[in-house]
Subunit: 291 residues, 2 copies
């Protein structure tokens, strides 16, 4: 496995793989790798001839008061993990490599980014789409792997790739969880022991909401109530948003239409913002039930 | 020469040119072709193995009160001209081909687009960079040809291509003029006979300003005065802006630094907005002179 820092080195490496038909899989990360990231690398390893992983804490997707400075970084450990998973190349650029002096172009997806996480993190998705666009152009992957934990990001990036004809297939991979259900996240390391004990209530609440929908409850207030009730059991958790949306357009929808929705939430555990989501699948024959 | 309307047809045609080393030149246009466009096609024809011309009146670069509806369209005539210039392929998509349902991504260059034409045409450059990004991705040209008449556009598109690593070389071509100096523009067809008679004063004024700078005048007010005086000879011309800027950053600069500047203007002839520009080159040894 090679570790490269510069765009030219990256292009030199990937250019040498250019035999026709060679497929390139790409996993963009901000490092501080956990089993969620690793599952993306493994999927890429199975599906593609070559696997590139980027490790870049992208400054443009952090807002002014956010955790850019303290975001966990450990490139050496990350490279060890990636080597053992059979990645071919790690691209770990400096900010000035991605954004050279004078850089002033931004890629923005309207609509999809205005609600949910976008509402409380202005500019966040603009930073995500811009860096993804640049990385896709540098690496030119056939497939790029994203986790469903960041569901809005997945939908937004997919939209950008389609609109701008960036020519990489966006592969969505299931959220990987701790044994107690907490979604894997590099930010879990911020949690105090007590916050960590309460954090699994997020997944538990989402699961209960999904169960209510599966059992035929079409009243979204009731379905959401299952989540809110569960989360309120932890005194340290405070819900930033909870919304049931169309999984493609992220528009609010009713369960009574009978189509699957996605229930997305962001929850503060103390000062740490955690996100998670679940599919809501109404039964074929809709009926009301308790949660 | 082939005329195609759909993205798939376009890709089929250009895909069949894929022999290694084949260079593809691209001339994006809004149709209503004049000798300015033709000069771009000729340059592409000389420098590239294959030449693609797009004819697309891009709705997203027109503001609400602008001339989208009445913008001149004549695809049949355009194709005749392009065929005789040896273009290989004309891509004339419908708006829904470039912007399919649900399209919501925008590419924006900050800073460079805030002044000059950007100040009076909000959203214009966002429309230009978005459509150029999409077309560059669809066509994947080695070189793309732009006229210097739209100088700000040239600088903005070059910045986008560099920032997003779009991988096409932006080739700047000199403005082509009518015998009386008026810069070729599809919008010249809007001019009344009297406006048309006065319009060459724009180029004449710019030339006089350039002459003053060449003769060593470093007082920009004086240099601009040469232009304003000339243009005021036509009672129907009204200056929207006149600015001397660094040709790369579009930032205001002084002539006394001794570096070449670009003097850009937009002038209304009646209701028709005309733009033009000229290079200001101070002499090696700076001295003051009258214009």
């Amino acid at each position: 496995m090679r570790l490269v820092r510069l765009e030219e080195e990256l292009r030199e490496e990937t250019g040498a793989w250019g035999a026709p038909g060679t497929t390139l899989g790409f996993v963009p990360t901000m490092g501080a790798l956990h089993r969620g990231h690793i599952s993306l690398v493994q999927r890429a390893r199975v599906e593609c001839d070559r696997v590139v992983v980027s490790v870049f804490v992208n400054p443009t997707q952090f807002g002014p008061g956010e955790d850019l400075q303290r975001y966990p970084r450990n490139l050496e450990r990350d490279c060890g993990l990636l080597e053992s998973e059979g990645a071919d190349l790690v691209f770990a650029p400096e900010p000035g490599t991605i954004y050279p002096e004078g850089f002033s172009t931004f890629v923005e997806v309207a609509g999809l980014t205005s609600g949910l996480c976008g509402a409380s993190r202005p500019g966040h998705f603009r930073g995500v789409t811009t860096v993804c666009c640049v990385l896709f152009r540098m690496i030119e992957p056939d497939r790029s792997y994203f986790g469903e934990k960041d569901f809005q990001q997945l939908v937004v990036v997919r939209r950008m790739v389609s609109d701008l004809r960036l020519g990489t297939e966006i592969v969505a991979c299931p959220t990987v969880r701790e044994p107690d259900g907490l979604a894997m996240s590099s930010r879990n390391s911020y949690l105090s022991p007590e916050e960590r004990r309460q954090a699994p209530l997020i997944h538990r609440g989402l699961s209960r909401a999904a169960e209510a929908a599966r059992e035929g409850c079409t009243d979204l207030d009731e379905v959401k109530g299952c989540f809110m009730e569960t989360v309120s059991e932890g005194g340290l958790l405070s819900v930033s948003y909870l919304e049931a949306v169309d999984p493609s357009t992220l528009e609010s929808r009713s369960l009574s239409e009978g189509r699957p929705l996605r229930l997305l939430t962001a929850v503060y555990a103390g000062k740490t913002r955690l996100i998670d989501n679940v599919e809501l699948v109404p039964p074929a024959s809709l009926r009301r039930s308790r949660c």
